[in-house]
């Protein structure tokens, strides 16, 4: 009986590892601290074009990537 319990415990404890192995790894940012931030021009919610270089020499930029609109965060 002890062995059966032990086996069940072992099986259960290895489950999360098996599950995790199935998930693709989260992407790691290729832009690092100390790098120049790649420039871009994108359209905002009001249809205005916004470029990162507009703020050079003027302001710091907090560039916040979010997953989906209408979700938290």
């Amino acid at each position: 009986m002890k062995h059966v319990l032990l086996a069940a415990l072992l099986a259960a404890s290895s489950l999360p590892a098996i599950y995790a192995a199935d998930q693709p790894a989260a992407p790691t940012p290729t832009v690092k601290v100390g790098d120049m931030a790649p420039d871009f021009t994108l359209t905002d919610q009001n249809g205005n074009k916004v470029s990162l270089h507009e703020f050079k020499g003027k302001k710091n930029v907090a560039l916040a990537f979010y997953v989906f609109a209408f979700t938290g965060g």
Partner: protein, 103 residues
């Protein structure tokens, strides 16, 4: 993004422009900005070119990983926060305030 809106005064006082970026369409962003009262730009990276360039594209969700970069006035990245630390902008606010003091 709501949390960034709540901290907008602090960030602006630290000479910081907030830019939200996602792979949503501009029209999703427009509706969402109105719903939650976001006044800073929410940029549409439709197709994900910028998201991919920053190494944040998650193929599982076909969307960006949650990340906040602080870019200084010279265009250099000085701080990166990921996931939960990117959702709560407290540490980003502190990084921007520290930059302001250093200048």
């Amino acid at each position: 993004m709501q949390a960034f809106q709540q901290n907008l005064t602090k960030l602006e006082a630290a000479d910081t422009q907030v830019l939200g970026v996602s792979m949503d369409s501009r029209f999703s962003n427009q509706a969402w900005a109105q719903q939650i009262g976001v006044t800073f730009p929410l940029l549409s990276d439709w197709g994900g070119d910028v998201t991919k360039e920053y190494g944040l594209y998650n193929p599982q969700y076909k969307a960006a990983r949650r990340a906040t970069f602080v870019v200084d006035k010279d265009g250099k990245v000085t701080d990166i926060k990921l996931d939960k630390e990117a959702v709560d902008p407290t540490k980003t606010v502190e990084a921007c305030q520290a930059r302001k003091l250093n200048r």
